[in-house]
């Protein structure tokens, strides 16, 4: 059973078409939304988080329609959302911030609420910052606080907009484990432009660019799309659709075979570049 269903959703900002007919069906588990800047990831997540109404098309979240007022409230009660830009109150402490957000999420039992918040702070490694003002936090700590906020009430659906941006490697790993241990029944949809994130934690992936779905499938299906189209050579050669120098001094090309290059196994990043590069050329 799909938790999130998006059917031909169109959303434009004035003359900018951000989503031009997106269709997705997302089941419980972790799904990645991969795409370059401006692909429409944030717009799609905001629509799913009930913060933005699509111009046309249908959205169903846990079978409910956000256009119906009573459904909207039920959806919001089961939803955790981490926006791309930090949505914090700089004059509050971490604890006060989470407490405010918990109240907006109807957690009115004071003792239970406070215990829950302390538990989340501990999970995020923020217990020492419990009484620090939000304005004194580093960028990575803010992201962790934003994730804690999204996890308030252990929602069934988690929408995370570039959650790993700004985290150091250790916290990025920790964060991956937090997200993937959310339970079988939880649906996580996260946007990223980091292919490593998809490889590390996603059961399914959608590649979107310019408001269109270019690919849907599993991460291994994604890398399989580039089989036979990735080459390595030790000199820079013309001909590849995208060519760059790797850390070990070799040149990696995707797309068209450059002269004298060797075929290698593709990664998700290769497949992604191939897809997005193609879209850019068309």
């Amino acid at each position: 059973m799909e938790t999130l269903v998006v059917e031909s959703v169109v959303k434009s900002y004035g003359s900018t078409l951000a989503l031009s007919g997106v269709t997705l069906k997302i089941a419980p588990g972790v799904t990645g939304l991969l795409g370059p800047n401006g692909a429409g990831k944030t717009t799609l997540l905001r629509c799913l988080a009930t913060g933005l109404a699509p111009d046309s098309g249908d959205i169903r979240i846990m079978g409910r329609d956000p256009r119906i007022t009573s459904d909207l409230l039920e959806i919001r009660r089961r939803l955790g959302y981490m926006p791309q830009d930090d949505a914090l109150y700089s004059s509050l402490t971490c604890f006060e911030y989470l407490e405010y957000m918990a109240l907006l999420k109807e957690q009115f039992n004071r003792a239970a609420r406070r215990a829950h918040i302390d538990e989340l702070l501990a999970e995020m490694g923020l217990q020492e910052k419990r009484t620090s003002k939000v304005r004194r936090l580093s960028g990575g700590m803010r992201r962790r606080l934003m994730l804690a906020q999204a996890l308030l009430g252990r929602p069934q659906v988690l929408l995370l907009d570039e959650p790993s941006a700004g985290l150091d490697p250790a916290h990025r790993l920790h964060f991956r484990s937090l997200i993937t241990t959310g339970g079988e029944s939880r649906t996580v949809l996260l946007s990223t432009h980091v292919t490593d994130d998809v490889e590390a934690m996603c059961d399914a992936v959608y590649v979107i660019d310019r408001g269109l779905v270019l690919f849907q499938g599993t991460p291994s299906q994604l890398s399989a799309t580039a089989v036979g189209r990735v080459w390595i050579s030790d000199v820079r050669t013309e001909g590849g659709q995208v060519t760059w120098r790797t850390g070990d001094g070799l040149y990696r090309s995707v797309g068209v075979a450059p002269d004298g290059a060797t075929l290698v196994n593709p990664t998700i990043e290769d497949a992604y570049l191939l897809l997005v590069g193609q879209a850019a050329l068309n």
């Binding site: 905001r46 009660r77 957690q107 009115f108 829950h116 760059w244």
Partner: protein, 244 residues
């Protein structure tokens, strides 16, 4: 893991105690320092105005500036720094905004009474202008700006709260008010024609409402102002766009 939440019980309605703690939390989170500074400035100005023995038309300009300062600072009470997130919370949309509107209206009206009250100390009554006329003027202003801010803020999918719109509009009003008297044909030199002022106010209120509704209803207008800077960057290879 403690699922410490009312959301485990989908049928739960907000209890009275819940409403109270929520209202208190929302009121606490408002941007009070700016409003307090605005009240201080406004009362100071109206106290200066009250030192004039000349009467209402001498005091009026200073009182107007005081009311503008007050209103501009009160607009900051609408600003929700975390709007993008809070509007998606069960009690973050309608309820939170209603509380904001209510609290803001109350303290704003109290503030403007205070300003007008201080400004009309020792006002000679034979001037023919009484403090109630200042009150009418002040409340008209408060009403218009609250209306703008309220409409913008209560519109469900607005991503800028009423503050930006109201501040812009109020600045326009301030500029028109601060024009030298000779440039304001609705005021006869040396004498304030309150009927003309009020008639003008109705016109301004109508235009303001029009702009407010346009801000809410016409997406391109908002898109132009709010996100013109947020442009997509081409993915740079191999870092794939933003480095983070």
């Amino acid at each position: 893991m403690t699922p410490a939440t009312a959301s485990t019980n989908p049928q739960s309605t907000v209890s009275r105690a819940g409403r109270i703690s929520l209202t208190v939390a929302i009121a606490r989170i408002l941007n009070w320092p700016i409003y307090a500074a605005g009240v201080g400035l406004a009362v100071g100005l109206s106290w200066l105005a009250s030192l004039h023995t000349g009467g209402a038309d001498v005091r009026a300009p200073l009182l107007r500036v005081a009311l503008i300062a007050l209103s501009l600072s009160a607009v900051s009470l609408f600003e929700d720094e975390a709007n993008e997130l809070t509007q998606t919370a069960p009690r973050g949309g309608g309820f939170q905004r209603r509380v904001r509107l209510l609290v803001t209206s109350a303290v704003w009206i109290l503030g403007s009474f205070l300003v007008v009250g201080v400004g009309s100390i020792d006002l000679p009554s034979e001037e023919g202008v009484h403090s109630d006329q200042f009150i009418i003027e002040g409340l008209a202003e408060v009403g218009v700006v609250l209306a703008v801010a309220g409409v913008v803020s209560l519109s469900q999918h607005s991503d800028s709260s009423g503050a930006s719109a109201a501040a812009t509009l109020l600045t326009l009003l301030a500029i028109s008010w601060l024009l030298p008297r000779q440039l304001r044909p609705w005021i006869v030199p040396g004498h304030i024609d309150w009927n003309r002022v009020r008639a003008l106010w109705h016109g301004v209120a109508l235009v303001t409402w029009g702009v407010a509704i346009a801000t809410v209803a016409i997406e391109p207008y908002r898109a132009l102002t709010v996100h013109s800077l947020q442009r997509s960057l081409p993915a740079s290879v191999p870092g794939l766009g933003r480095s983070d």
